[in-house]
Symmetry: C2
Subunit: 332 residues, 2 copies
């Protein structure tokens, strides 16, 4: 073994030191651990089973740029809700930000082989998602946030995005709008795709014009740019639905700047409600969901899995559209 050679001790001494057994001096033990650290030594899977009885941690890997997380209240309300349930059982949350799904999968493999987590939460499900198959193969207990469908045999907790979107289109069509546009989130996310399908289907059912959709990365910058593009087009929409609150607020700012008053000339709907939506002038019509409660629900479902249950699929409440002052009849 490399560690023994480098530290100038016997293999037996290394084994005793790494296993925390008596028989080596504190100085030797320190030296061995130091060498092990230098070699970036990882205990193998079998040895890690030592700690496998319980890790008391749930894993959450976020494959999004770290900078965008601070402005997305969704994740942290979700995490707060999760911790509200998990902390009572003294279960911690192991959080890791990665660049992409490939890196995410590597983290799952490592965490599970080292039994760092008892289970993981899978978020931002894609239409074709290799992570689901991998987790099933590994046997790493997991709960999918966002369903139904496309989550294999893994249990899932979700809200009905399609019904929520239909509510929004019905509200706007009821006010008399016929040209509705949508500023959407990342196109390869399953929930974006679900909302898109529901958006088109609801518009068609109401006999509205074929709706335009612009995809973004959820940032205020891209929300503003999308709004500018839509309002500058030959036949601008009379209503825009935004996939989050940050983009809706940026959209209102752009409309105001362009001399397009909200709601007189443009109605605006935000998917996620927030203090920002409520305190803006005008306050925004927004889709309200209790993400904290959703996180707590997910935690309970996950605890059931940890306690040996099957993990039932669960549908959370459908988000509710709160009518405020950013939506009205379109200009005549």
């Amino acid at each position: 073994m490399d560690i023994a050679r480098r530290a100038g001790v016997s293999k037996g001494a290394v084994s005793m030191a790494l296993n925390g057994l008596p028989g080596v001096s504190e100085a030797t033990r320190s030296r061995i651990l130091e060498v092990a650290r230098e070699l970036d030594w990882h205990p193998n899977n079998a040895a890690r089973a030592l700690s496998a009885a319980r890790s008391d941690a749930i894993g959450l890997v976020l494959a999004r740029p770290a900078r965008t997380l601070g402005v997305e209240p969704f994740f942290f309300q979700l995490i707060s809700g999760l911790q509200a349930e998990l902390s009572g059982r003294r279960i911690a949350l192991l959080l890791q930000v990665v660049a992409d799904h490939e890196a995410e999968i590597a983290v799952y493999r490592q965490w599970w082989s080292e039994r760092r987590v008892d289970a993981v939460l899978l978020i931002d499900l894609r239409v074709e998602d290799t992570r689901v198959t991998l987790l099933e193969e590994l046997g790493l207990p997991a709960l999918v946030i966002g369903g139904p469908g496309h989550h294999g045999r893994l249990p899932s907790v979700w809200a009905d995005d399609a019904r929520a979107m239909t509510q929004i289109v019905d509200h706007l069509a009821g006010l008399g709008h016929r040209r509705i546009a949508r500023v959407a989130g990342l196109p390869d996310l399953l929930h974006t795709e679900r909302r898109t399908e529901a958006f088109r289907a609801a518009a068609a059912a109401r006999g509205l014009d074929e709706p335009r959709i612009v995809w973004t990365d959820y940032s205020g910058e891209q929300g503003a740019a999308a709004t500018r593009g839509l309002l500058g087009s030959p036949q601008p929409p009379t209503a825009i639905v935004y996939d989050n609150d940050v983009m809706a607020v940026a959209g209102v700012a752009v409309a105001t700047e362009l001399g397009v008053p909200v709601p007189a000339a443009l109605s605006v709907v935000a998917w996620d409600d927030s203090p920002l939506c409520q305190l803006l002038h005008p306050p925004l019509t927004a889709l309200t969901r209790d993400t904290f409660a959703f996180g707590a629900t997910a935690a309970r479902s996950l605890l059931a899995v940890l306690d040996g249950g099957e993990g039932a699929d669960m549908e959370d409440h459908v988000p509710v559209l709160v009518h405020r002052e950013s939506t009205s009849a379109p200009p005549p």
Copy 2:
């Protein structure tokens, strides 16, 4: 050993199973792990040294109600900034919400004895803080967010709250205000105490009236109640400084409701800037700091400690007061 008796096997078999060594059948091994799990068995400290070479996790314990975290952008911008630096080294963040400092200390003891983390971040420092002494005793590497002072031999990263507060008082005094009040955060936090001292000293230096201070839990509800109390008093203040953005926004809403126009009859300053401050009507004069960058700075300092360094104390940039439309001269 209880596990051996319960599983009906020898102690040797238990040891082999828990240490992942050959010599027991897979079925026996499963049974032993199952029993260990039922008994909520934790490996002892010495055995945990097996994984001590590196845990690749930083611990963060939050002794605040989980529900309030989702509305406090500070923590999550801090976490985003931390992860931006740590994820490049594949270091995860182990997050745990607890009820109080006693529970927090118990978590540190457990994490360190089991080598779950390589280091921890200590936040919300108190004037008298037993956690500092404990971490020094344990030898658990730690970085204190918030200094200088009161952090023993532990390295600390901080921003100069006193100078920031002096900026605010100078701005208001310069506009002609003489009755300034403050809606503060939790009274036993060190940074609340620092701001209070600086607030009183700056007011005295400018020859202002003895300023009134109301302490709260940072929530919008308590911010609103404090504002109602101040504005309903015989000699209401002409300016209020709030310790976070959520309370400042709630304060503006209360003032508007009471027929006290902002800024004509009441100037308002928010400690933390946010999209909420910028997009509110009127936009709020606010103290801007880049919490994401602060988190990244803290992470770099922590990595230096992990790499065997001493961990230098570091002062971050002083937050900057951005003048917007919520502050003006007091009514004549």
